[in-house]
């Protein structure tokens, strides 16, 4: 299984039944663009790993940003 196949699989995870409070889109945007501390970014990534909606929000923030990681 190639890296690209695993990436495609991760992108195609089915959304589970809505439960709990979603991660704020603004928090995800800031994490993607390097505007959070590494510790706070790690906490956001922990959610992204387990929550397909947060993962989609992360990918959209990547696509809509300017491609630069700021702040480091």
């Amino acid at each position: 299984m190639t890296d690209d196949e695993l990436r495609a699989a991760f992108r195609n995870v089915r959304f589970p039944v809505l439960a709990g409070e979603p991660l704020a889109a603004s928090l995800i945007w800031d994490a993607v663009h390097g505007e959070l501390s590494p510790e706070r970014t790690a906490a956001v990534v922990d959610r992204v790993a387990a929550d397909p909606e947060a993962a989609l929000s992360w990918r959209l923030a990547m696509a809509l940003g300017d491609g630069r990681i700021r702040g480091r």
């Binding site: 299984m1 699989a9 089915r14 603004s26 993607v32 590494p38 790993a49 989609l56 959209l60 809509l64």
Partner: protein, 169 residues
Amino acid sequence: MQTSADHHDYAELRGRLLVAVRRLAPSSMADQVEDLVQTGILRILATYASDDVPNALLYRIAHSVVVDEIRRSRRRNEIGLTPSMPERLEARQPTPEGTARGTQLGDVVVDCLGELSPDRRRVVTLYLQGHGVPDIAGLLGLERKQTENLVYRGMKDLRGALSERGFAP
């Protein structure tokens, strides 16, 4: 008088949103992409068209609005058919023939990520999201070499966990 609506190219914003959502969203959302983006653009226009919003901020707003529209749509059960947990677990069982490349592979990848050590899980998650090693190192405050090792070992762990579930390479 010229408003910021004149300054911003909303057609370009709409086009960029459409391309991004089409490319990045799960296939289960394919039928809803146009409506989601159109509704999002209308909300942005209704709220910000008369304000002087810098372009960089406009894309941040657009991201927030589109994500919100996706959540609203999910609540209306219009997208992302939401199977119950028993249905999802049943769907995750590999077939006897070991056909592992179906649409449920992603669900299993998420399960397997949960078994990785936290540091490996984070770098692998960002790697699967499409980030390269320099970006991952910057985002998580790691050294580049350390990040390379974590990606390598984490992907190896992930493939091992997939293999244990019958999703062999």
